[in-house]
């Protein structure tokens, strides 16, 4: 078969497909909106259970949602519950880490009295017959009418207006829901009321990150991510580095912040490492982790992290009982795996730094 024949066959097939695609596009124009409308009504199911008097749920302004999400990344969506022209409440779609994965919760807040109108549990991977008890009415009902102006706590027998149920045997699942609802209440207070109340979440993850940047480079006025091509080159050889930022002061690069993720005892440990352009460490920050409370979590404490300040990058950093030389940092006895986990990350940052400045 020659080229001309192949081309002819290809073109005919193209034409047939093009006509088919055109017909399908036309059909989609007609049926698409009908299907979308129906799916929207099905999705409203849970919202209607929380706000039975509402007749519509409208998504809030995109920019406002983006602003909310920059303060708290656990908030996936916010809808206004409307009855006629009046807003009767807000439905927050939140997620939090549970036992088996993310737990998605819808938290409805009533604007009439600033209380929780109700919650519904969405998709999750909690243990059947154990963690999934969070779906049951006796759990979700414990949130109805509770306050939004104080941080909610989960207890065995809730009575006060800031107490909700914790299911014995499913505490992690219960806390995942609690955390999500507190995030929703916090966002509600910050963005949808004029009340002069303290935010109930003392510091969201996003605020913590911003604080870490500033603590690593107090003199910096701007942090900019390095170019993607540079990041890609470094990540190709480096298992731990996820992001690299330049710390700028008055337009000049004074150092770098490396975000790494490495394996600890209980799971992944995110670490931020600050390195001056002269190769000395400004310090490290250890992020949200699942290390053993009171033992492995000591890696978050100043006794450990301070031992990194001023250390050099010429040699790999090692943990010792009494650190003295330029590459020695503090060992935490009883938490060697957690310590090693953090060190993989910091040494990964060190290698990335060396790689970066030689480019």
């Amino acid at each position: 078969m020659d080229m001309k024949e192949t081309l002819r066959l290809g073109i005919i097939l193209l034409l047939i497909s093009a006509v088919a695609a055109g017909i399908l596009a036309f059909s989609n124009e007609i049926t698409g909106p009908i299907i979308a409308e129906r799916e929207r009504e099905e999705a409203f199911g849970a919202f209607l259970e929380i706000f039975p008097e509402a007749d519509d749920f409208v998504e809030i302004d995109e920019d406002l949602l983006a602003e909310i999400q920059s303060t708290n990344g656990n908030i996936n969506g916010v809808l206004e519950a409307k009855s006629g022209d009046q807003t009767i409440g807000y439905a927050f779609q939140v997620s939090a880490g549970g036992y088996g994965g993310a737990v998605n919760t819808i938290a409805g807040i009533s604007t009439a009295d600033n209380t929780v109108a109700g919650i519904r549990i969405g998709t999750h991977s909690e243990t059947p017959n154990l963690g999934d008890a969070i779906e049951k009415p006796n759990f979700t009902d414990s949130y109805v009418g509770k306050t939004t102006t104080e941080k909610l706590v989960a207890v065995g027998s809730p009575s006060a207006e800031n107490e909700v149920l914790s299911i014995s045997g499913a505490t992690i699942s219960s806390f995942a829901v609690l955390s999500g609802v507190n995030d929703a209440n916090d966002a509600y207070l910050r963005y949808f009321t004029d009340m002069e109340v303290e935010p109930i979440i003392e510091e969201t993850e996003e605020e913590k990150q911003a604080r870490f940047f500033n603590e690593l480079f107090a003199d910096a006025d701007e942090f900019t991510p390095v170019e993607e091509s540079v990041l890609d080159t470094i990540m190709a050889d480096n298992r731990f580095v996820q992001e690299i930022f330049e710390a700028n002061a008055g337009g000049e690069v004074i150092g770098y912040v490396f975000k790494t993720i490495s394996g600890g005892y209980g799971g992944e440990i995110p670490v931020m490492t600050g390195i001056n352009v002269d190769g000395t460490l400004t310090g490290i920050k250890v992020g949200a982790n699942s290390e053993t409370p009171g033992l492995g979590t000591k890696v978050e404490e100043a006794d450990f992290t301070d031992s990194f300040v001023g250390k050099g990058t010429e040699e790999a950093l090692v943990p010792v009982g009494t650190p003295s030389s330029d590459n020695e940092v503090q060992l935490i006895s009883g938490a060697t795996v957690s310590t090693d986990g953090v060190l993989y990350g910091v040494n990964g940052a060190r290698e990335a730094f060396i790689n970066l400045i030689t480019q």
């Binding site: 078969m1 005919i12 497909s17 088919a20 399908l24 059909s27 989609n28 049926t31 009908i34 129906r38």
Partner: protein, 205 residues
């Protein structure tokens, strides 16, 4: 061939499910209830009709070497149109058919008729063949659906507002018939009986 013969052919002598034995996996899966079987049968008939007509109309345009991909594009287009239509206007049937609706694309019956009849005959005979084969398929799956539902589940027309509990509500149901393995055995029996009856009619003709 006379049009009436083409039509009868699809239902009896060359019934796609009971004689040609094509498209059997979807047969086993959707014949759990009468309504599911009937819906699937009608969906397949609709697609078969459409694709047979179009492929017959285009039989002189489609070059022989790319006929299979061309047939598949046509069949897939009709299935997708059906999907969109059902999803928008007949949602209960759409949900009942579930994954088996898009799987109609690879139902061998449709491709086989395109290849062996529609691409070689003019439009009206192709239309009649599509109708005949589709109804033959519908006949087979509906009967299977009725038997599996009545004896396997104790109901008739379950899933609709007209559901009847044939043996009373306490009927435990023959679980084997509800499972695909039972469906397969039932299909085998159906094929045997059908062919015996056909052969008898052939002898007396």
């Amino acid at each position: 061939m006379k049009l009436s013969n083409i039509f009868k052919n699809g239902i009896f002598k060359e019934n796609p499910v009971l004689v040609q034995l094509v498209g059997l996996c979807s047969v086993l899966a959707v014949t759990t209830t009468t309504v599911n079987g009937l819906s699937m049968g009608l969906a397949v008939t609709a697609v078969l009709l459409g694709s047979n007509i179009v492929i017959s109309l285009m039989r002189n345009i489609i070059p022989d070497k790319i006929r299979i991909p061309a047939f598949i594009v046509v069949i897939a287009t009709f299935v997708t149109l059906l999907e969109m239509f059902l999803n928008a206007y007949m949602q209960s049937i759409y949900n009942a058919l579930g994954i088996f609706l898009p799987l109609i694309v690879v139902n061998c019956t449709i491709l086989a008729r395109a290849e062996s009849f529609a691409s070689k005959n003019s439009v009206v005979p192709s239309m009649v063949d599509g109708l005949g084969m589709g109804l033959g398929f519908t006949f087979a799956v509906t009967v299977l659906g009725i038997v599996r539902e009545v004896f396997g589940n104790g109901t008739f027309l379950g899933g609709t507002d007209f559901v009847i509990n044939v043996f009373g509500e306490a009927y435990p149901g023959a679980g084997i018939l509800v499972a695909p393995a039972g469906a397969f055995i039932l299909l085998g029996i159906f094929i045997a009986v059908f062919n015996v009856v056909l052969n008898k009619k052939k002898k007396t003709n």
